[in-house]
């Protein structure tokens, strides 16, 4: 049997960071990822932060992947502005919360994980190969066994191999956690559910519409009636030539008031502020009723081709350096590109009856559970010689508008790497030596503190930012609370008291329908401006969204339902983001082919990731 020092299970940002760091510590490690390529299984919102904290060291992305991260990595935009929009019907009240975004922040970039993680992988494997390690994709770890002091890793694809330690970075639906019973499955109280669509929009239109300089971006959070009465809210982040539009809701709140996830996104799209943000001029094929069926199809084919050329040229025209159209010699100047686009447009309109209408273009629909660190962080993030990091360890910062998981996973990865490296040097992988040390390092992380205690500085800043909003007209109860909080001395005492009570007791107050739905709606109603949209977006049906996704179907299902008649599984008929469940007689039946591996059904099923290379293949993530 082959032997290795370290196996890292999972090639998301946490696992890749561990591989990079361990290799830079001159240790050899192999990383096993189930997806056919790195990045195809990972989803985020997402803003990747680099943070600082006076209370302790944070290991940031640039510490792991190099100071040239900003100039070399495929990041989307540097987030400069951060807004919260309270919504009620067509009334919107906007607050500028940029100081919250800047709080303890070195930088925050919008990212797409299917671009970023492959770049992490390239850097990590370069370092790993020097140490005799590397990345293996398309392999699914199915079991781990401890036999006579040996740790044996079993996969669906390769011969078993032996390791001295394991870093489990296999995400929120960690099978390693289940195999080792290091923690129980997360329950709906402990997690949030995220659903997202990627929307295409030309680079320069994004900059013009959001008032951005080139390479800069903004983040927009939404709360109020767009939540359909759930605890959570929407987000819209600008990428280079796409927008990430999504929503995150407390799973419990979805269970008590079930709604189809796609509808949560649709609700955002229908909001006039959002529909204006995502608007583009989209060609739609006209009818040619006077032609025979056969000729109609022929025309449709050539129109499709022409529209494709039109779109390609237009997106390039609206991007930096005109997408290289002039450099490559295809065109002499910008005017020439413009007139070519115009002439295709004219052809399409006059010859083929194509209409150019206001609409929006969706590229990818995705969904995933997110750990709410303050509720589900693993108290003891190890078992034997296995260390848990990132989502697998339930580590993430989820407070108000703040969702941070990528940066937390990177920080965890460095700590795990240092602990494992120390064990390799001493050849001691006992949990007393390895696990305890890792635990102490994790406890030193400022992120851990933020998962256990309220960050008073952050909350104070929030209160400062909203202190001038005249709540009196909005909500008398909140006004009283706020007035008290504005008093510095009272605020300090109150925060201390809150921290003594602990998150568990005060969460029902902070994370309530009142805070996420009612108050924002009242604010919008009383103080908001009316926003109107110039069109009605044509929202694709779920079947169209699924049809755009890429899968490599497995013939065998990776999920088995525990109790086909349970109330929980009945709710999944509505809650599964791709409608994999349906009722047949009295039984809830699964059709696994459309599964996007979000994990929402995992608590009521025997849930495994699909075998190597199988399942969903996201293109943006």
């Amino acid at each position: 049997m082959e032997q290795f020092d370290v196996a890292i299970v999972g090639g998301g940002s946490a696992g890749l960071s561990a591989l990079k760091k361990l290799s830079d510590l001159n240790k050899s490690a192999i990383l096993i990822e189930a997806g056919d390529k790195i990045g195809t299984k990972n989803v985020s919102g997402g803003i990747l932060y680099s943070k600082n904290d006076p209370t302790g060291r944070i290991f940031n992305v640039e510490d792991v992947f190099g100071e040239d991260f900003e100039s070399s990595a495929p990041i989307e935009r540097l987030i400069k502005k951060y807004y919260l929009h309270a919504t009620s019907g067509n009334k919107i009240f906007t607050m500028d919360l940029t100081p919250l975004h800047e709080y303890k922040t070195n930088f925050g970039f919008s990212v797409l994980l299917n671009r970023l993680n492959p770049w992490f992988a390239e850097r990590a494997s370069e370092s790993a190969e020097k140490q005799g390690g590397g990345i293996i994709t398309g392999v699914h770890v199915s079991d781990i066994q401890w036999i006579e002091n040996k740790t044996i890793v079993r996969t669906n694809e390769l011969e078993d191999f032996q390791v001295k330690s394991i870093i489990a970075a296999d995400g929120i639906n960690s099978e390693v956690a289940e195999i080792t019973s290091a923690r129980s499955k997360f329950n709906p109280e402990e997690v949030y559910f995220g659903v997202k669509v990627i929307i295409k929009l030309p680079e320069k239109i994004i900059e013009e519409r959001f008032h951005l300089d080139s390479s800069e971006g903004s983040a927009h959070l939404l709360a109020g009636d767009i939540t359909l009465n759930h605890v959570g809210g929407g987000f819209l982040y600008t990428n280079r030539e796409t927008l990430s539009l999504g929503a995150v809701y407390h799973y419990n709140s979805l269970l008590s008031n079930p709604v189809a996830p796609a509808q949560l996104v649709d609700e955002l799209i229908k909001n006039p502020l959002v529909s204006e943000y995502i608007k583009d001029e989209v060609p739609t094929r006209g009818e040619n009723d006077d032609l025979s069926k056969e000729d109609q199809l022929k025309v449709q084919l050539s129109v499709s081709k022409l529209i494709k050329t039109y779109n390609d040229l237009r997106y390039k025209y609206f991007s930096k350096n005109n997408g290289g159209l002039i450099e490559s010699g295809r065109f002499n100047n910008t005017e020439e590109i413009k007139s070519r686009i115009d002439s295709i447009k004219q052809d399409l309109t006059e010859k083929y009856g194509t209409k150019f209408v206001n609409n929006y273009v969706e590229l990818e629909y995705s969904a995933k559970l997110i750990p709410d660190g303050k509720r589900c962080v693993m108290k003891r993030p190890y078992y034997n010689n296995v260390l848990f990091i990132g989502d697998a360890a339930g580590r993430g910062i989820f407070i108000g508008p703040k969702i941070e998981g990528i940066n937390v996973g990177i920080d965890d990865a460095v700590r795990a790497s240092i602990a494992v490296s120390r064990s390799i040097e001493k050849n001691n992988f006992d949990s007393d030596y390895l696990g305890n040390y890792f635990q102490s390092m994790i406890n030193e992380s400022p992120y851990t503190r933020q998962m256990i205690k309220i960050d008073e500085g952050y909350l104070s800043l929030f209160l400062d930012l909203v202190k001038d909003i005249s709540f009196s007209s909005a909500n008398p109860g909140f006004e009283f609370g706020l007035r008290m909080m504005k008093n510095k001395r009272f605020r300090e005492t109150a925060l201390r008291l809150a921290n003594i009570l602990g998150y568990k007791r005060i969460l029902p107050i902070i994370e309530s329908e009142r805070a996420y739905v009612k108050v924002p709606m009242q604010l919008a109603d009383k103080l908001g401006k009316v926003v109107t949209s110039s069109y009605t977006p044509e929202i694709p049906a779920l079947s169209e969204r699924i049809a755009k996704l890429q899968y490599n179907d497995d013939t065998e299902p990776h999920i088995t339902v525990n109790d086909k008649r349970s109330e929980f599984m009945k709710k999944l008929i509505l809650l599964c983001p791709t409608k994999c469940y349906s009722l047949e007689g009295k039984d809830v039946m699964l059709q696994h082919e459309g599964c996007v591996e979000c994990g929402t059904c995992s608590i009521g099923t025997r849930w495994r990731h699909p075998k190597g290379e199988k399942g969903i293949r996201y293109r943006y993530g």
Binding site: E2, S125, E129, G133, G134, I136, E159, F161, L297
Partner: protein, 289 residues
């Protein structure tokens, strides 16, 4: 050290959008893109497997015009080959399979500075009108054991023997898998069903390392390229090109279109109602009506 040779071929790319035909229905070779033939690519995969599993070094050879270099480059991406050989001479023009085999035999004998090769792979056949005889004829000329349709193999380096699984068709009646053990050297034509099975972590890491290396090497493939004309290959002009080709192509017949009495109806799938008659028809056929 295991020495592995691969014989490859630059072929027209028959995939959609890349192939062009003359008005008489024959292939327009000037307009059609050329790529490393799909069967050659599978032979490359088999050689690459030998590199990863047995640490083999790889030499690739092809007979063709100077543009065949591009096939050698693509093969280097797939194999991380140490050596690329182009056998190119005007004298080779008009060669049939026998004359081609003569060139390839001398080519193989010159690989790695005339070191003896242990295995030579070639594709099952070419996709542009070849008859699958080049491989066996080259093997015969080289005096190597020939193994056709190999779909899987294992090598015992100490004993210098290969155990190969071959697909055999019994006069079209049935297909069986034959397992055969024989001493090296061998000449193998690889079956299209072959897939490299890297089954251990080390093999997967090795495969990653060598394919990265191969991609990098191929950027400077000219450094690895050796070009041979008939003189350098010590060939007898009577045995190559047209003079060395006993095959006479008497006439090329176009395959006549089969007569059918099918009727085509185009259905617009955007209206689901249109699908009902289709489904009804399928059910009727399935019920044998």
């Amino acid at each position: 050290m295991l020495n592995v040779g691969v014989i490859i071929k630059l072929e027209p790319d028959f995939s959609e959008g890349n192939v062009s035909y003359n008005s008489d229905g024959t292939l327009n070779r000037a307009e059609t893109k050329n790529i490393l033939g799909p069967h050659s690519a599978i032979a490359c995969n088999a050689a690459f497997y030998c590199k990863v599993k047995y640490g083999a070094r790889i030499s690739i050879g092809t007979m063709g015009p100077p543009i065949a270099e591009s096939a050698l480059k693509q093969a280097q991406v797939l194999t991380d080959a140490e050596e690329l050989n182009l056998y190119s001479d005007r004298l080779f023009a008009g060669a049939d399979t026998l004359a081609t085999a003569e060139v390839l035999k001398n080519g193989v004998e010159k690989m790695f500075g005339a070191d003896k090769m242990d295995i030579v792979f070639s594709g099952h056949r070419a996709s542009d009108g070849e008859t699958g005889q080049t491989g066996p004829q080259t093997a015969w000329k080289l005096g190597y054991t020939f193994l056709g349709n190999v779909m899987d193999f294992d090598i015992d380096l100490d004993r210098k023997v290969i155990v190969a699984k071959r697909l055999i068709s019994l006069q079209g009646m049935d297909t069986i898998i034959e397992e055969i053990e024989c001493p090296l050297p061998v000449f193998i034509t690889i079956d299209p069903s072959y897939k490299s099975a890297f089954s251990t972590v080390s093999q997967r890491l090795g495969a990653n390392k060598y394919s990265k290396q191969g991609r990098k090497k191929s950027e400077n493939y000219a450094q690895f390229l050796k070009t041979y004309d008939s003189q350098k290959l010590d060939l007898d002009p009577k045995l190559v090109g047209l003079p060395g080709s006993p095959t006479i192509v008497y006439r090329v017949e176009r395959i006549p279109r089969a007569k059918t009495n099918r009727k085509t109806a185009i259905i617009d799938p955007s209206n689901p109602d249109n699908l009902t008659p289709v489904v009804t028809k399928i059910i009727e056929i399935a019920r044998g009506k």
